[in-house]
């Protein structure tokens, strides 16, 4: 990744620029040609025709077709579009082919380039580096110089690369059900502008998701200036409304709190999934892991009160399952104990069982004042946030561990309210034009708003939808416009902490998509101004002119815009609780339960529903794939006599849905959790019609949880494809757990577990070993939070296919690195609130590998640098190695899993990694292609590969730096140091396989932690 940071500011920057610069238009270079030819094809119309034919058929069929056959049709359409796509991507027009007259600078076939860009989600952003091969982006890494990820990525950013090439993405403009062109729309937009200028923008409404692009915000501001009566509504199903409203209650102005775990010794998470929720989770995870370091003076201690198991709860030293509504009581109890002024007097009966623990916690917080913080989750109501602010103020955390930033004044502070307002206005007939930019309200709005009906209102004469997919909203729209993926477009992203990154296109739009700012530009009378200019224009006004070019290039190169130091924001006022109306804690009626909504851990609010990687990524804790389920506590399941996969009817405020049950240890009794994002009807071939649509239960006044859920068991069964069927460790000890105390004082052995003597009748190395390199990996279980980023990074790097639900049901998933999850604890209580351990398991690259011994054809052998190598084209598929692997990390292509047909996906493949066929075994290679790349670079520069130079895909993605890879012969390498640690142990050491991958004991705060500390 570092190699992208070339010092010279005057190097050509992006492929796009580079091509414009390096080759004259008539001498198109062949390298970039295939991705440029798409637009050319579009110009000469051939693509247009192809696409038109396909889409015309599509639209014709879509209208007046029942739902199932409509879905079926989407499949066909997707396929035909994919063909159109390859016509654009693969075929080179016969004319005007000229070889590299002079090879464009930096473009060396086989050598990847890295470009900085950024992705945004929920109004926050992550800085990224994108690996590009000959103009094809094929892998996403985190941008080390971006404060949010510090080089790490979450599962979503990793999977964006698949979304980019998704053949189901919207590929043509559709007008009133017929295929149309952007040019025609732009003409329409110009007329619209003229008309709306006349009427000051009356009846014009713009609906977006949370916007964090300064350029777009500026465009909207300018639009509002020109059309004062136009309105901007933004709605994101997973939003921070409560936080802002809470701040408004307590501080008088909507502010967004961000938490700095690095500054705290004690963290209390009140239904706050600090580690797993949104891009900020990356920042929290890294800080958390760093503060849990055993060498750290006072390792951070985490308390979690939450209704449903989350990564944060799993990482917590003390986790208390409480209903979502009871979190307020916990906060109030803490507030009283800490003598917060205005702390409410609430009936704490329902949290009685935890009173002692809360008291103890309060005392601890008291003693840790200034080093403690209370985090309140976005899924908690405003009152709790207000209370949280008061608590933090009492703990002296405000301005230290908790910082407050004013929300954007232009954006609606309460998105739900703003959406409600929009709907009401449409119903009132005050709206004739709705511009939906990148949002999908028909699917993702609370059910009670009946957005679909509203948008069908005949007063709305122009519903314009810009989206990556022609989705549920697109189906209603008069105009549907294909949106450009962020990897195809210019733009900018501001993260929650204020850092701004520029987005630059890695590839010309595959499917003639354009961005929201292109559309807004059209309304602003800037038709046809290229996106790059729009962004530059804005930043010209923000960055000092004298060295604008330099800072612009620096921004593009580093991925972070060098902003002039902002003047320090005025300290926020002290929070007051007098204005807060405390809700009366309603005791749940008998037979009624609390319904809790959560964004899906892998497809979020549904926007990634068509992403196969994310669908097949086992969801943390449940290891569920390809589905969502109603999570119920073991206690509730016992009480109702329901079991896994049994279908239940969920009845919530007059809406009902059917959902399969999944029993989730650690779920608060009496609460049922459903995840958003499934049950899509127009997501694409992958995402259509799987799972159930939880939005149907969602209400504008109960966005995250609400009482009064009825749960009626049925006889039905829906098979759920979970990848781990056994929860406990069966008295084995794959994950060793100890305490910080033990680690600090006892030192050797104790925290380590008894060592098995490893003697062998055989000589160590039968064969000459390399004197330079012995590759090895260490995985620090004390850092791993189980997020699964490693799994999906590996999938992206190594061309790992997805296999689909039916194959996962027969446990044939192909992930090279899996994250095992074990529950621990005694008796039935353990099921109700177990301790959770995570363990990423890649290939162990055993020195004495059982798999090698039994392979009849030398398809798996040992390299002199200690790699356990698979030779795919030598494998005949006896699967003996898979049987004989004690770690079961070998994956077999039982069928032809790799999709070699879909052209878009062919572009996606990593050219450095063999694509496997049916009938061969595969497994983790330690990213041997990266090792070899480093080796070649070192050779060219006449040096040895550095001990830490090679970074595997899983290691690069890991938000907590739990995975460390390197050269064991280099005693200075991080991996050597870690393996020298007394916490180091080998999995199933007693088998004498001598793994190269080792683990570091997990540490807890023992005493208060649930189970006694265990020593080996």
């Amino acid at each position: 990744m570092m190699k992208s940071q070339n010092a010279d500011l005057d190097k050509p920057l992006t492929l796009t620029e580079l091509m414009r610069g390096a080759a004259a238009p008539e001498a198109e270079s062949t390298g970039p040609r295939y991705w440029r030819s798409l637009s050319e094809l579009a110009d000469d119309g051939s693509f247009g025709e192809m696409a038109s034919r396909a889409a015309a058929r599509a639209q014709a069929a879509i209208h007046g077709l029942d739902e199932p056959s409509r879905r079926k049709f989407m499949t066909l359409m997707g396929a035909s579009f994919a063909l159109a796509g390859v016509a654009g991507c693969g075929v080179q027009p016969v004319e005007k082919i000229v070889p590299y007259v002079e090879q464009p600078e930096l473009i060396v076939p086989g050598k990847p380039l890295f470009f900085a860009t950024a992705s945004s989600r929920g109004g926050d952003g992550v800085g990224l580096l994108v690996e590009s091969h000959m103009g094809r982006p094929i892998k996403i890494e985190g941008n080390p110089s971006h404060p949010t990820g510090k080089g790490a990525t979450d599962v979503f950013s990793q999977a964006e690369i698949l979304s980019l090439y998704d053949p189901d993405r919207s590929q043509v403009a559709v007008h009133d059900g017929g295929v149309d062109t952007w040019e025609r729309f732009l003409r329409f937009a110009v007329d619209l502008r003229a008309r709306k200028l006349g009427e000051k923008g009356r009846g014009l409404r713009i609906l977006t998701r949370s916007v964090c692009s300064p350029t777009v915000l500026d465009q909207i501001r300018r639009l509002r200036e020109q059309m004062p009566e136009a309105r901007w509504h933004s709605y994101e199903p997973v939003n921070r409304d409560a936080a802002r409203k809470g701040a408004e209650l307590a501080l008088g102005s909507p502010m967004e709190a961000s938490y700095h775990l690095e500054k705290a010794d004690v963290v209390v998470a009140l239904d706050a999934d600090l580690l797993g929720w949104g891009p900020a989770g990356l920042r929290h995870a890294r800080a958390f892991a760093d503060r849990r370091d055993p060498e750290a003076e006072s390792p951070l201690k985490l308390y979690a009160f939450e209704p449903t198991p989350s990564l944060t709860g799993a990482a917590a030293d003390v986790r208390v399952p409480v209903a979502a509504a009871d979190v307020l009581l916990v906060a109030a109890a803490l507030a009283k104990a800490l003598k917060v002024e205005g702390a409410p007097d609430l009936d704490a009966k329902r949290i009685e069982p935890h009173a002692a623990r809360i008291a103890a916690l309060a005392a601890e917080l008291e003693s840790k004042k200034g080093k403690a913080l209370v985090a309140v989750g976005d899924s908690q109501p405003a009152e709790v946030h207000a209370l949280g602010l008061a608590l933090n103020a009492a703990l002296g955390a405000i301005g230290e561990a908790v910082t407050l930033a004013p929300a954007d004044e232009l954006a609606p502070a309460d998105q739900t309210a703003s959406l409600v307002e929009l709907v009401r206005e449409i119903e009132a007939g005050a709206v004739d034009t709705v511009l939906v930019l990148g949002a999908n309200p028909v699917y993702e709005a609370p059910a009670d708003l009946k957005v679909a009906e509203a948008l069908r209102n005949e007063k709305v004469t122009a519903l314009i939808h810009l989206g990556l997919y022609n989705d549920e909203t697109g189906a209603l729209a008069h105009w549907h416009l294909p949106e450009a993926h962020f990897l195809e477009s210019w733009g900018d992203v501001r993260s929650a902490d204020g850092t701004v990154s520029l987005q630059q296109p890695l590839i010309e739009p595959l499917y003639q998509g354009r961005t929201a700012s292109d559309v807004l530009a059209a309304l602003l009378g800037q038709v046809g101004v290229p996106g790059r200019e729009l962004v530059r224009e804005y930043w010209k006004t923000r960055l000092p002119e004298e060295n604008f070019e330099a800072s612009w290039r620096q921004a593009l190169r580093d991925g972070v815009v060098p902003l002039p130091a902002a003047e320090p924001a005025p300290a926020p006022p002290a929070p007051k609780l007098d204005k807060v109306q405390w809700p009366a804690p309603a005791a749940p009626a008998d037979g009624e339960y609390e319904l809790v909504f959560r964004p899906d851990p892998t497809i979020w609010d549904g926007r990634y529903a068509n992403n196969g990687w994310l669908q097949e990524l086992p969801k943390p804790l449940t290891t569920l794939t390809w589905d969502n389920a109603a999570l119920v506590s073991p206690a509730l399941a016992r009480k109702l006599g329901i079991e896994d996969q049994q279908v239940v009817t969920l009845e919530f405020r007059s809406s009902t849905i059917k959902a399969p049950v999944l029993i989730a240890p650690g779920q608060a009794e009496g609460t049922v959790t459903v995840h958003l994002g499934y049950g899509r009807s127009r997501a694409g071939r992958v995402g259509n019609g799987i799972g159930f649509d939880a939005y149907k239960l969602r209400r504008a006044d109960a966005p995250w949880s609400g009482p009064g859920l009825k749960l009626i068991p049925t006889e039905g069964r829906i098979p759920l494809a979970i990848t781990q069927h056994h929860h406990d460790t069966k008295n084995r000890e794959p994950v060793k757990v100890s305490t910080f105390e033990a680690a600090r004082h006892h030192g050797e052995g104790e925290a380590h577990g008894h060592h098995h003597p490893d003697f062998s009748l055989y000589p160590d190395a039968p064969y000459k070993q390399s004197e330079d390199y012995a590759w090895g990996m260490a995985i620090d279980l004390n850092r791993c939070i189980g997020c699964g980023a490693c799994t999906i990074a590996c999938q992206a790097e190594n061309n790992i296919p997805i296999v689909g639900k039916d194959q996962v049901l027969n446990s044939r998933e192909m992930h090279w690195i899996r994250v095992d999850r074990y529950y621990e604890g005694e008796g039935a209580a353990s099921a109700d609130n177990p301790t959770t351990h995570f363990q990423p398991v890649p290939c162990m690259h055993c020195e004495k590998a059982p798999c090698e011994l039994v392979c009849p054809v030398e398809a798996t052998t040992h390299s002199d640098e200690g790699l356990n190598e698979m030779t795919y084209n030598r494998c005949v598929g006896t699967r003996y190695c898979g049987n004989n692997c004690p770690y079961k990390v070998r994956r077999f292509n039982f069928l032809q899993y790799t999709d070699n047909e879909t052209p878009g996906l062919q572009l996606l493949r990593n050219p450095d990694v063999t694509v496997r066929m049916r009938g061969v075994m595969e497994k983790c290679t330690y990213c041997v292609q990266r090792i070899n790349e480093a080796r070649q670079n070192a050779k060219v520069e006449g040096r040895k590969v550095g001990g830490d130079e090679v970074v595997t895909a899983c290691q690069a993605a890991c938000p907590t730096r739990a995975i460390v890879f390197g050269n064991l012969l280099d005693k200075e390498s991080s991996v050597s140091k870690l393996q020298a640690s007394h916490r180091n142990y080998a999995l199933l050491e007693e088998l004498g396989t001598k793994p190269r991958t080792t683990y570091l004991t997990k540490l807890t705060h023992g005493a208060e932690a649930h189970e006694e500390p265990r020593h080996g």
Binding site: Q724, V841, P850, V876, T878, Y880, N883, G919, V920
Partner: protein, 470 residues
């Protein structure tokens, strides 16, 4: 000797009153003159229709991939390997009867060895199918054989699978040779008795011009004896190697030193059961009761009983070692997962069929009752299939890391493939009884001769009788 037999009340190995001529005609007429009968037609019909099923299953397999079976991770071996071991095991009885009993000069082997050898060949043919078909890329099977490959690679000699390739192919070759050598004189007989010129020419060419010269006989006998001497350790080695496929691994429930002896015993156990299963109807339908007498059934029953006990001992030892070794993985698998886990039913049926039901054979009356014996033999066949199922599936589905445990379920294609090989077996068997003498004629004549001698010179015979009767 005959007197002795009658004294201890055992039925004779050959019904009295037979001469060279009667022996010859009775057996060879089955092939040459006997008309097609409906039982044969029905059997052949079933066999060949199942053979079609086999064709379908294999085509599907080659077209779609091994994923059409139930195999998964961690249970990467399923029915295919189970069936392979089962068929190979069945094969062993044939070689054992023809080779070991020959060396031990057991007269009673004579009338069943030809048939048993045929069974061996066909069983091995069926067994051989599975290792090939279960591969991910079957068309690359020859990579397991030593040949000058462009990749300069020879097989990985440390892999038990390669041992398997050599063991099974050697076994198939030697069995075929042994069988054919035994056939040569009888083919000559058929040649000389054939009425039809073409039939005579076919058998004649297969007989290689055998004319029964004394010098030929002497070389023939030593070659035959040496083949037997070679086949005897071979048959033991083959199932030992098969057992090493499991024993050489690290998987709990596989990684056990008791496997070789207990697999070999199991093989003989199931093999004799299969011989009984096939002999009882055969002797009834083709009037061979004079040659395959109650004595034969009785002896085979005794062997079934004995080997059954050895197998039972094997099960007991697995238990004991699992407990005694203190290896937590072994303990869990053998003391918990197998008897009480997901597959406990298979395990319990196995115990019943292999250890429980054979105990009935202690009763002589049952041993000598063809029908009961036949039913018991069926149970043993089922039990031995279940044994392989238990070994393969339970061990793999719950090995070291609970995180990767998963259950295994066969698909319709697993079943179709298995039935298909049964079809192949039946087909070949029915073909065999129609075109080749199901009993070794020449050896039967020899037996008649010996009997003749015994009657003639009873007194002298007493001395050698001891040697023979041991």
């Amino acid at each position: 000797m005959a007197d002795h037999q009658h004294d201890d009340g055992r039925p004779p190995v050959l019904a009295p009153g037979h001469t060279y001529a009667t022996v010859t005609s009775t057996i060879s007429d089955i092939v040459l003159t006997r008309p097609l009968d409906w039982r044969w037609a029905v059997g052949m019909g079933i066999g060949s229709s199942l053979l079609l099923v086999f064709g379908a299953a294999v085509s599907m397999l080659l077209f779609k991939g091994v994923g059409i079976w139930g195999v998964n991770a961690p249970v990467m071996w399923g029915w295919a390997i189970i069936n392979f071991v089962w068929w190979v095991g069945i094969g062993h009885a044939g070689t054992l009867i023809s080779a070991i009993l020959l060396l031990l000069k057991q007269q009673w082997r004579t009338s069943i060895n030809r048939f048993a050898e045929a069974m061996t060949l066909f069983a091995v043919a069926c067994a051989g199918m599975f290792p090939l078909l279960h591969m991910g890329r079957p068309w690359k099977f020859f990579w397991m054989m030593p040949y000058p490959s462009t990749m300069a690679l020879l097989p990985q000699w440390r892999s038990p699978l390669v041992w398997d390739v050599f063991a099974v192919s050697t076994y198939a070759t030697v069995s075929a040779l042994f069988w054919y050598v035994g056939l040569i004189p009888d083919l000559a007989t058929l040649r000389d008795r054939a009425k039809n010129k073409w039939v005579a020419m076919i058998y004649g060419s297969l007989a290689l011009g055998w004319r029964g010269s004394a010098r030929h006989w002497s070389r023939y006998k030593s070659a035959y004896m040496l083949l037997a001497a070679l086949a005897t350790p071979l048959v033991v080695s083959v199932h030992t190697v098969v057992s090493l496929d499991f024993a050489a691994s690290v998987i709990p429930g596989w990684h056990a030193t008791i496997f070789p002896p207990y697999f070999v015993a199991g093989a003989i156990f199931s093999g004799f059961a299969m011989v009984v299963t096939l002999c009882v109807p055969l002797r009834a339908w083709y009037g061979l009761k004079d040659f395959i007498t109650i004595r034969h059934l009785d002896n085979m029953a005794k062997i079934i009983l004995a080997t059954g006990m050895i197998v039972g001992y094997g099960y007991a030892m697995e238990f004991f070692i699992a407990w005694y070794s203190g290896n937590p993985y072994e303990e869990f698998l053998l003391l918990d997962a197998r008897p009480f886990g997901t597959y406990s039913n298979a395990y319990r049926c196995m115990i019943l069929c292999n250890v429980g039901i054979p105990q009935l054979l202690w009763v002589p009356a049952i041993r000598r009752n063809p029908v009961l014996l036949w039913i018991i033999s069926i149970f043993v066949n089922i039990g031995m299939w279940l044994e392989r199922y238990v070994i393969v599936v339970t061990s793999l589905s719950q090995d070291f890391l609970p995180s990767s445990w998963a259950d295994y379920n066969p698909t319709i294609w697993d079943v179709a493939t298995f039935l298909g090989t049964i079809g192949l077996f039946t087909f070949l068997l029915f073909l065999f009884v129609r075109v080749l003498p199901a009993i070794a004629v020449a050896e039967m004549r020899e037996l008649v001769h010996e009997k003749h001698h015994e009657h003639a010179a009873a007194g002298a015979a007493v001395a050698e009788a001891h040697g023979e009767n041991r």
